[in-house]
Symmetry: C2
Subunit: 566 residues, 2 copies
């Protein structure tokens, strides 16, 4: 809903003020709307567009060189008064005549029509252009009764470019009418919008449903159906519009896939993937398609597809340069295409030569990784339970996915003859890539750091193992930013690494040293229940509360034990 306003009555007027302040390079405020702040040649046809507010970028966002000369802004969803249209148009007129462009709604038809009469009485040559693109609002046999929606923009763009090119009023009007006759739109809505000052939406769509052909002010649609996957929605929109594909010059179209405000950019890009397919399949090439918010209705949820069938006369005006707040077409920086990219990295990797000892270590490691994956899969539910007490409960799942991927990659590497360093490196990358989330990144980082201390040419001795573990801890702390006591896996990792280094330093054999270190790690993990939660950057950290063990510490301790056992 609309939350930001000073008072509901002044919403549209203050919005225009703010818009002009931001885009002073392009527009100036006048009573009732905006006019270009850039110089315009005498004798040029003036394109004056407008309608109710609440539809930004329509209409003020399209004022500037190559597009409209001025925009008239009524109150939210209300036609501007005749006097305001008259007043704004007079300031935009340069002696070449005036085109008044607006969507075909009763109030706008009256006020723009009446304004045209007034302007003619003042000696201006004025043409009235009501856009009629919404196929849901009337059949093709009475297309002149259709409402205007996002088709406003393709038609106005073509008219604006024709006017900028210096064409006569008759010619600009002829091209604009031709564009309008060849423009169709079809849309759906998932939810209504809320006017400034209102507590309730202007209209609603039942949950899980979508209004097919629902108008941008809530005008009745033609159907109400279940919300459908993007591919089916794309087909619904494309197929309906293709029924009006003209016999001649129907192979190229200006296209707008328009979001109404609450249906966001990435949804529109998803939809575009399927719309583009549908258009190609229908033999239509999309020329410089626009995908985004071009005619909104406040925060209304929904979208529409607009096609303007181009021909040799219309297309140059659609792709001509323009410079407005909402649309900038034309060259800013000279560029040339980049050369073709090399093919994506092959999955077939080769490993450095390895010694027999290192290969033996690699085989052992691969076996241990498999045991680890089994143990973590068994513990998945328990780890999830611990994590859910304070975090989002996906720790067990992440550890299972990561360790399984690591085991698979480690086994493959060892079988391919990799040494222990390369095998651990392959396993670490697989863990990070598949586990996802913070724990996946940390485990991947730790294992890869450890791998850097190993050697494909030599056997792993106790000192090397301890050094690798210490290196892993240091990198996890350095890059992860966690210290002991922060209630992360470091709380179990640090005691493990320290104890292992100490035992090895004292001459204890690796197996015994590891066992004692794992025991220390387990005790520390249990002890995390007593630690204060970390005040951290990520939500899951900040939400961790005292009184629960840290799932990352618990899974680390479990892993340390598992690698030794069996």
């Amino acid at each position: 809903m609309t939350h930001v306003y000073e008072d509901a009555e002044s919403f549209a007027e203050v919005a225009v003020q703010g818009f002009c302040a931001v885009h002073a390079r392009l527009v100036r405020p006048v009573t009732g709307g905006v006019v270009r702040s850039t110089k315009t040649d005498e004798g040029k046809v003036a394109l004056v567009i407008g309608g109710g507010s609440g539809h930004y970028p329509a209409f003020a966002g399209y004022v500037g060189p190559g597009f409209a000369d001025a925009a008239v802004a009524g109150d939210v969803f209300a036609s501007p008064a005749t006097r305001l249209i008259d007043s704004v148009a007079r300031k935009a007129a340069r002696g070449g005549g005036i085109i008044l462009g607006f969507g075909n709604y009763a109030g706008d038809v009256l006020n723009f029509g009446f304004a045209a009469e007034r302007l003619r009485a003042q000696g201006h040559d004025v043409r009235v252009l009501a856009i009629t693109d919404d196929v849901a609002s009337a059949g093709a046999h009475e297309a002149q009764r259709r409402r205007g929606v996002a088709g406003d923009i393709t038609v106005f763009k073509i008219a604006g470019a024709a006017a900028e090119a210096g064409l006569s009023l008759d010619e600009v009007e002829r091209l604009a009418r031709r564009a309008n006759d060849r423009t169709v739109s079809f849309g759906v809505a998932f939810g209504g919008c809320t006017l400034p000052g209102s507590k309730e939406p202007l209209f609603t769509v039942p949950k899980g449903k979508m209004g097919v052909g629902l108008g941008i002010h809530g005008e009745p649609g033609i159907d109400e159906v279940d919300i459908m996957p993007a591919s089916k929605l794309a087909a619904l929109l494309v197929d309906r519009l293709l029924t009006e594909k003209p016999d001649a010059d129907g192979s190229r179209a200006a296209v707008i896939l328009n979001g109404l405000g609450g249906t966001k950019h990435e949804e529109l890009f998803v939809l575009w993937t399927f719309v583009a397919e549908g258009l190609r399949a229908g033999g239509v090439e999309a020329v410089e398609p626009l995908v985004g918010e071009y005619v909104t209705s406040l925060d209304m949820e929904g979208c529409s597809l607009t096609l303007t069938w181009l021909d040799a006369e219309l297309e140059p005006h659609w792709v001509a340069p323009c410079d407005t707040a909402a649309l900038r077409v034309g060259t800013i920086m000279k560029t040339e295409p980049a050369p073709a990219l090399p093919p994506e990295d092959s999955e077939n990797v080769t490993y450095p030569e390895a010694s027999a000892e290192s290969k033996a270590n690699a085989a052992f490691l691969a076996n241990r990784l498999e045991k680890l994956a089994e143990a973590l899969a068994e513990a998945e539910a328990e780890l999830g339970r611990i994590d859910a007490q304070a975090g989002d409960g996906d720790h067990g799942q992440g550890m299972t996915r990561g360790s399984r991927a690591a085991a698979t990659a480690g086994v493959a590497a060892a079988k391919a003859g990799a040494g222990v360093a390369s095998t651990l490196a392959a396993a670490s990358d697989a863990w990070a890539d598949r586990a996802g989330g913070t724990s996946g990144a940390i485990w991947g980082l730790g294992l890869r750091s450890a791998a850097r201390r190993l050697d494909d040419g030599a056997a792993v001795d106790a000192k090397t193992a301890a050094a690798a573990v210490t290196e892993a801890l240091e990198q996890v702390m350095r890059l992860g930013g966690a210290k002991p006591g922060d209630k992360t896996l470091v709380d179990a990792f640090a005691p493990f690494a320290e104890r292992l280094a100490k035992e090895v330093e004292a001459g204890v054999d690796l197996r015994t040293a590891w066992s004692r270190a794992a025991e220390a790690s387990k005790e520390a993990a249990e002890g995390t229940a007593q630690l204060a939660p970390k005040l951290g950057r990520a939500r899951n950290h900040t939400q961790r509360s005292q009184g629960h063990r840290d799932a990352g510490a618990v899974s680390f301790a479990l892993s340390a034990r598992t690698v030794l056992e069996g």
Copy 2:
């Protein structure tokens, strides 16, 4: 909420595909994200930005000449995996080193940090740049722990321009860090967003409240307060950021007033009006401010203000040209400023010379308009009641406002010596301007059309009056598009005009003819209850249902009678 997707799992990936299809001039898809499709000089520093999806235009919308070289896209609100960052960055690298830029979140810190390690191991010189602008997430004394929000964009823009200018990796990194150190953001949220596939929002804000400092993924804020008027909200944001204004070079700032997705353009423009005032009062000049959606969180309702304190080193990079899907800075068409506008139209009008007879008619007309205004004010509630049965119930109010304005203007014109044509014209304009809505436009149009048949130089005779009424009806039908039987005021107007013309034609005096015509009009207005509703373009028309009188017809008939009486 998010409604448009094929399946929730593929949302981010398919969105990137669609984005690249729309913006093929600028970007190409690669595994894990996008790279520029334009040629980049060898030796240039590569700026690779990224993070979770769901934030468009962040991050892919900022890839192109003058800005980023590539963007990595994770799943919605999830850090991209290390492997993907590594893979995308390698494709963007041109031998001049790599800057990895991202917002300071635990997952991104880990994955980008780990990717940097991998890339260094491949021989790249890599710098890691975590953006820390959100003042709500940590105090100024521990600014390095702050989250990254819309400040990402000012810092990346400056870094991207510096890289495009050919600066060395050390220099680009230094400028980027300086920009980050001088960047602060503060935001509020009115409502949470819904992830693809989810039925419920990720988080919520109680109705009527706003979360102050609430993070863009729902991270806890610092306060929850009642929603406030735009001026107070602007002060809240500006005042907090001004507390971190640096001692040196704090007078000019790059500014982003950012909408999170559900808080729309016109709301942001309203807010900007007050933000700009606050910045000016605080001695800060906004340099090329951006007001719009620059870092969203799906359909989250809320906004944030970002300031980057500029100095002589940073400002040229902020205003330098760039060419990306979401931001195009630089000259497209050469323009010069338009000359100053003449002052707005004066309220002091002069009227043409008028004959004594016409002035007498004008005085009579002004008196009749006053009676009409009184009668319509008396009938306001009743007209509203009739209208509310089928429309939006504002007909009585509009008629009262319009007739009152017409009477005032008519009396003023008559007093100023205007003839009857000019007096009626002044009244008609005032009616249209003040009444608002469709009925105001229709009445304004009708009265002005009638005025054109009158003459400031001669008395109004019966034939002239009947011709003026006929002209008014014709224009209302022509421009308004309504025919008898459409359940509009035409249903009462047409019988009136026809009967009047017929009686006058038969030689009946004007007063008697008018009286008979008014009676016919009244009967017709009562009869509209039997008419079928008009299938029209405007919602109020389509909603009119059978069984109720049409308020417009009733008020017309009342007006026709009133002008005669007394």
